[in-house]
């Protein structure tokens, strides 16, 4: 069934069940996204894609809200812009966005300030370097959940990682804090492929960033590491 409604004052059509984000993209209307990815199930976690829908009390995440008959949607109202700007400022105050150029560009677009919440506690942790394929730097993680999703039913059906902790302490982790090789992980790196902020990164890319030369990196895995026998 085809639905007609208004988006930014323009009449648009949608198929039944289509999300507002999808309709906006079809009509060339730009709605920013961070946690949304075409290959994963949308969860409306980051809220950057919110829009204003007339008659609804709160802003609506366009990645999951479906188009409805006679809806009136504003994708860039003052309220929407303020919300997006605040979301970006909160992200910038608590996490390391240095590997997320798209989000940094978004901050410029929305005039978001890195100094808005100067005393905020930052979510910081040491780089987890426990396997030869990829590293995990959760100081750069914004908890978009994509890595967990592709490890589970959105791609790999391996279930090696999940959320751990609550509230501000929430982080992506393994069960019983096992190292990656000890989990069910098959090291496919689907998680690395969908990480939007460089929190997950191929080991070789990480080593280049650390100033290692290609020649140095190339000899790193050539010697047998001694391992503890495990009974």
């Amino acid at each position: 069934m085809t639905i007609t409604f208004l988006m930014d004052g323009k009449e648009v059509t949608a198929q039944d069940g289509q999300t507002l984000l999808d309709v906006a993209r079809e009509n060339g209307i730009d709605i920013p996204t961070i946690c949304f990815h075409e290959a994963t199930t949308a969860n409306a976690l980051c809220r950057i894609c919110v829009v204003e829908v007339e008659g609804m009390r709160t802003l609506q995440p366009s990645c999951i809200v479906q188009a409805g008959v006679n809806m009136k949607v504003q994708t860039r109202s003052e309220k929407v812009v303020r919300a997006r700007k605040t979301i970006l400022e909160m992200l910038a105050s608590t996490m390391d966005l240095s590997d997320a150029p798209d989000i940094l560009t978004m901050m410029d677009d929305y005039g978001a300030s890195r100094e808005r919440f100067p005393g905020a506690e930052r979510r910081e942790s040491d780089v987890k370097d426990d396997n030869p394929m990829y590293i995990r730097d959760y100081s750069k993680c914004l908890l978009c959940w994509r890595c967990v999703q592709v490890c589970a039913d959105d791609a790999q059906y391996t279930y090696a990682i999940n959320f751990e902790g609550r509230g501000f302490e929430t982080q992506i982790g393994t069960f019983f804090e096992k190292s990656i090789p000890e989990t069910t992980c098959v090291m496919c790196g689907q998680c690395v492929g969908v990480c939007p902020t460089g929190a997950l990164k191929p080991k070789r890319e990480y080593m280049l960033e650390q100033g290692k030369t290609p020649a140095e990196i190339s000899v790193m895995n050539t010697g047998r590491k001694q391992r503890k026998a495990k009974k």
């Binding site: 098959v186 895995n221 050539t222």
Partner: protein, 719 residues
């Protein structure tokens, strides 16, 4: 953040799935691999090998200078030289002249039958085409084969006999259109990981029912509707019993049988004895499960079969694949989208290498070499006098080595293959390699086979050359150089063409054309004679591959085969009998050994053992069932000796229900504990494929100090 100098789109060099890779290059060094989510093959997903396993390109042991052995090797006394100190670095001119001089010397003395070549399922279509052309056009021999003989020869022969074509009938991405599908003899999650994801998606998101028929409790069993754990090598009784049920319960698609097949009556007669109870007795699979699986497959709207080497790598591999084909014939589950007969091909380009005629019975395009009309076509294409090419069928991979003796094969050219790991009964293979008079190795590492060579020609891996790979579902895709070749190494096709020119001038032949300025000219030459590839140009496959047959320039490709008819006309049923595995268990050798592959490794290990992949799976483990382990006093991680009538290895045991009682499993990637020292070199009489999947062994406790590398211990949590 590292900014890439360039991002080059290419195709994965590991398995037959053919995933799209984006190689991120900085200072001529690939530091990251990604894949586009819109790729029709892998939809943004990769496995550990594709995403991380390319570092062998930069391994310090890679050889990038032509080498000649310092000590002259003699037939019968040939030795292996792994150390560079045993080789002399030479110029390309010296190496190529040395190869041409020796090959021509032996050819002039002993003739065509002394010459043989192993083409390579890892190399591009273009590389393979020119190499088989060199041997056919210059040395006038069909002793051309490659590792397809060792993986799917049984499937290829059965499909050729039954339908007249030997590739997957449908694409892998059609898995999600199946209502019911059978996975048999394939540990898909480890060997075709991305197809396994699509199988899981089909079950979880599209409501398909999966039936796993395999001696091992593989990862896919978690999501299967049924698991039929048959004893290795009992495929024919199980599949034939399923056919028996379909016939006896009248679940036959009679329209299909009448209109599309022939020889049904003879088949029916042979089927009579294959009752489910008979199959249960032989295979251990409960008769009732066989009935249920047969009904589920036969009554589905769309059903398909996917199979791997558990079907083909048997001394009755052809019959085993034939028994599966019968199921599709009886039910008509072939020739429509979401159905089909789908052998999952192992190597990235095993389909393509076969298409290119890297086989002893066929020119490119599966044209029989013993047919004078086919011969005339290639004589014309290669500028050869009438009647110049050989009509004699060549020797197969295993036969080439077993004929390595005075009066037999004297010179062997090996491109990228590693028979000293991949042949059965390696102690015998070693003996055969020693008998050769001259060996050329064209590779990137001095592997177990190249170590036997007289001359080493440093070729390039996939990331340093242009060309095409044809994946398991017949999709011809581009391979693109990400950076220039390391050192003095050169793309295979260039090395071959330079040698061919040298041979031609020494033999005084008029030229068969070797002056290609790029690999596309090679593909076009092949496509001008092989109609399957006639409509494929690099331009047409620039963005997305084409699925052959592509008979002309406007043709969109053919994802589903056999819609109207089979290439041979009607599908042909064959009467089958049950032939047991050649080597049966007894008191001395009470276990059946079955071999296979691991997610983290690739075949003989030339690539993955020289990669960080080796760090995450550093040792071979023999899998043994807890019930068997208890009887023999074997605990998880204990060193054990696995012994057959032909050889022995010492490895640690993994005590697991992933294998079944009476069956032990060993991966064959590890040279220090090579599973193929144990395997039986008995061949399928039609396909000449060895019986890798079943032989009799004993397992004894051993000491830590008996292990080849006691300090190395696998420590992984994956299933």
């Amino acid at each position: 953040m590292i900014k890439a100098d360039r991002v080059v789109t290419s195709t994965c060099p590991y398995c037959g799935v053919g995933c799209t890779l984006q190689l991120h290059v900085k200072d001529d060094f690939i530091f990251k691999v990604t894949t586009p989510f819109e790729s029709p093959v892998n939809h943004g997903n990769l496995c550990v090998k594709g995403r991380f396993g390319y570092d062998y390109i930069y391994h310090p042991k890679r050889v990038t200078t032509p080498l000649i052995r310092k000590t002259r090797q003699e037939a019968g006394k040939r030795t292996q030289a792994f150390d560079l100190s045993e080789w002399r670095e030479v110029s390309w001119d010296e190496a190529l002249d040395y190869v041409a001089d020796n090959l021509v010397r032996i050819y002039k003395r002993d003739g065509s039958d002394a010459m043989a070549v192993y083409c390579c399922a890892k190399a591009t279509n273009e590389d393979n085409y020119v190499l088989q052309k060199m041997y056919r056009a210059l040395f006038r021999t069909n002793n051309v084969d490659h590792c397809t003989r060792l993986c799917h020869a049984g499937s290829v022969v059965a499909l050729q006999q039954a339908v007249g074509s030997s590739a997957m009938s449908n694409t892998a991405s059609q898995v999600v259109m199946n209502d019911v599908f059978i996975v048999t003899g394939s540990n898909t999650s480890e060997n075709h990981p991305i197809i396994a994801l699509q199988m899981k998606e089909a079950v979880q998101k599209h409501g398909a029912k999966m039936i796993v028929i395999d001696p091992r409790r593989i990862d896919l069993v978690d999501m299967a509707e049924m698991w039929l754990p048959l004893k290795p090598g009992t495929n024919v009784p199980v599949f034939s019993a399923m056919a028996h049920v379909i016939v006896k319960e009248d679940l036959v698609n009679w329209d299909f049988v009448k209109n599309r097949t022939e020889n049904f009556d003879e088949f029916l007669e042979s089927l009579e004895k294959f009752t489910p109870e008979y199959a249960e007795e032989i295979s251990g699979v409960p008769a009732e499960d066989i009935r249920r699986a047969a009904r589920m497959y036969a009554t589905a709207k769309n059903a398909a079969i996917y199979w791997g080497m558990g079907i083909s790598q048997l001394s009755h591999g052809t019959a085993s694949a034939m028994a599966l084909i019968h199921l599709a014939f009886l039910t008509g589950h072939v020739g429509r989208d979401g159905t089909g007969l789908n052998p999952l091909r192992g190597q990235n380009n095993v389909q393509g290498a076969s298409d290119m005629g890297s086989m002893p019975f066929h020119y490119p395009g599966y044209m029989r070499v013993d047919n004078p009309d086919n011969r005339a076509k290639w004589e014309n294409a290669w500028n050869i006098e009438e009647g110049g090419l050989s009509l004699k069928l060549g020797l197969t991979t295993t036969e080439i080595l077993s004929n390595a003796h005075e009066g037999g094969i004297r010179a062997l050219y090996i491109m990228g293959e590693n028979p000293m790991m991949s042949e059965p009964n390696l102690n015998l293979t070693r003996h055969h390699m020693e008998q050769l008079e001259f060996i050329v190795a064209q590779d990137i590492f001095i592997n177990e086979s190249a170590a036997f060579a007289d001359v080493f020609l440093p070729a390039t891996p996939f990331a340093e050359k242009d060309g095409t790979f044809s994946n398991t579902d017949r999709r011809v895709q581009r391979v693109r150089a990400a950076h220039p070749p390391r050192g003095m190494s050169r793309p295979d096709w260039q090395i071959i063409c330079d040698i061919a020119l040298r041979i031609e001038s020494r033999l005084g032949l008029s030229t068969a054309h070797w002056a290609y300025s790029n690999p596309e000219e090679i593909l076009r030459e092949m496509g001008s004679v092989n109609p399957d590839y006639a409509g494929i140009t690099y331009d047409r496959i620039d963005k997305e591959g084409l699925i052959y047959p592509v008979p002309h320039m406007e043709h969109p490709g053919t994802p589903t085969l056999f819609k109207e008819s089979f290439p041979r006309g009607k599908g042909k049923f064959h009467a089958l009998d049950y032939v047991p595995v050649r080597e049966q268990v007894d008191d001395e050798y009470p276990f059946i050994l079955t071999t296979g592959r691991l997610l983290e490794h690739w075949h003989g290990g030339t690539m993955t053992r020289n990669s960080a992949l080796n760090e995450i799976y550093p040792e071979a483990r023999v899998e043994i069932h807890p019930a068997d382990a208890e009887i023999h006093g074997i605990r998880n991680g204990d060193p054990v000796k696995v012994q057959s009538r032909r050889g022995e290895v010492v490895v640690r045991a993994t005590v697991t229900e992933k294998t079944t009682v009476g069956v032990v499993f060993l991966p064959w990637h590890f040279h220090e504990a090579a599973a193929n020292l144990l395997t039986n070199d008995v061949l399928d009489p039609q396909a000449k494929i060895p019986e890798f999947k079943a032989c009799a062994v004993q397992v004894f406790p051993a000491r830590e100090s008996d292990l080849p590398n006691p300090e190395v211990v696998l420590d992984r949590g994956r299933y």
